[in-house]
């Protein structure tokens, strides 16, 4: 908890320093930007309320044992593609993907498959995409990002294989 408090504090320190710079450019610059920021915030709230408060229910929708069975010991291309798909289908939020990855590792999933899964979840979790990313980023850039990132989970598995010799 203290770690997340430190994050909150450092964010507000950054915001305060930036506010000071904005104020030096003129009080109207500061007030205009503050208004803009608050409007962005208000715009996000209903999405976040649904996406974040609902994330526990989304997790319930995800059959976790099915996902874990997708992360089998198989580290062939099919196994890695399944792991990628599983990552994209896992809801966002800070921990769900890591938690599933950890239990999968303990119940015999392949190391590379879990690497692939965690990376795909970080890149593509559909709920994070809808709730957090699309509201504040240009839609085109979001989809360009997704397209450009498609090979990354498999590249990660390949890199881990080269680095650690695990197959």
């Amino acid at each position: 908890m203290s770690a997340t408090l430190a994050v909150t504090l450092s964010l507000w320190v950054i915001a305060a320093v930036l506010a000071l710079f904005a104020w030096r450019k003129g009080p109207e610059v500061l007030s205009g930007a503050a208004r803009h920021g608050v409007l962005d915030f208000l715009y996000l709230i209903p999405r976040l309320a649904i996406g974040v408060i609902g994330s526990g229910f989304l997790a319930a929708l995800l059959p976790q044992d099915v996902v874990r069975s997708w992360l089998g010991p198989d580290s062939g291309v099919t196994g890695l593609l399944l792991a990628t798909l599983a990552g994209a289908l896992t809801p966002g939020g800070p921990v769900i993907g890591f938690a599933i990855g950890a239990t999968a590792l303990k119940s015999g999933a392949g190391y590379l498959a879990v690497m692939t899964y965690v990376t795909a979840w970080a890149l593509f979790a559909f709920q994070r995409l809808i709730v957090w990313e699309l509201p504040v980023m240009p839609t085109r850039v979001v989809w360009l990002r997704v397209a450009a990132s498609l090979p990354l989970p498999i590249l990660t598995a390949w890199g881990v294989m080269l680095l650690t010799g695990r197959g």
Binding site: A33, L123, E133, T156
Partner: protein
């Protein structure tokens, strides 16, 4: 539209199709939880996630303000020179470095990336920035990933992921040139 035009403002409606889609999934999930665990299961998840929601609100506000202040403070020439569409690999490296050390979570990264795009950042660097936070962001790895998967796993994953934000940025940069409908 020429490359120097600001990107169009996103159309803003309070609730849009994709949000309704998530809402439908959430309701379906709630029904499943109710049938499996009854009202107690529902209230348990609802309480836990409401606390999470309240906990992130101050961070979300800070993130939105940071995005707005950055857009107001950073000169457009400065942004487009260092992380613009023509900043090349230098821009991708800068964006990757900033994404890796930027504190916070989705509540800072996406508003900031949106703000930078609006004041002259290129698609490639913006994608490198977001990808860097997701794959090699220190704060995320230390606070959330290491407790679950262990330091070895996280370190290995991060070393291997180091070049990936730059690759994603390059890919997005090239795609942005061939996919019509917006700036580079």
């Amino acid at each position: 539209m020429s490359a120097s035009d600001p990107p169009p403002q996103k159309p803003r409606s309070l609730i849009d199709g994709s949000t309704l889609f998530v809402l439908a999934l959430v309701i379906a999930g709630a029904v499943i939880v109710f049938r499996r665990e009854g009202v107690a299961g529902l209230t348990h998840i609802l309480t836990e996630d409401s606390i999470l929601f309240l906990d992130i609100l101050p961070k979300v506000l800070a993130g939105c303000l940071i995005g707005a202040f950055v857009a107001a403070v950073l000169p457009r020439e400065f942004v487009s020179r260092w992380i613009g569409a023509d900043s090349g690999v230098t821009g991708l490296v800068i964006a990757t470095a900033v994404g890796a050390i930027m504190p916070g979570g989705p509540f800072t990264i996406y508003p900031l990336a949106g703000a930078l795009l609006a004041i002259g950042a290129g698609v490639g660097p913006a994608v490198a920035f977001v990808t860097s936070w997701t794959l090699i962001g220190l704060n995320r790895a230390i606070i959330w990933e290491a407790p679950f998967l262990g330091v070895d796993f996280v370190t290995t994953r991060m070393i291997v992921s180091l070049p990936l934000p730059i690759l994603a940025g390059l890919g997005a940069h090239w795609l942005a040139r061939i996919v019509p409908g917006g700036p580079r």
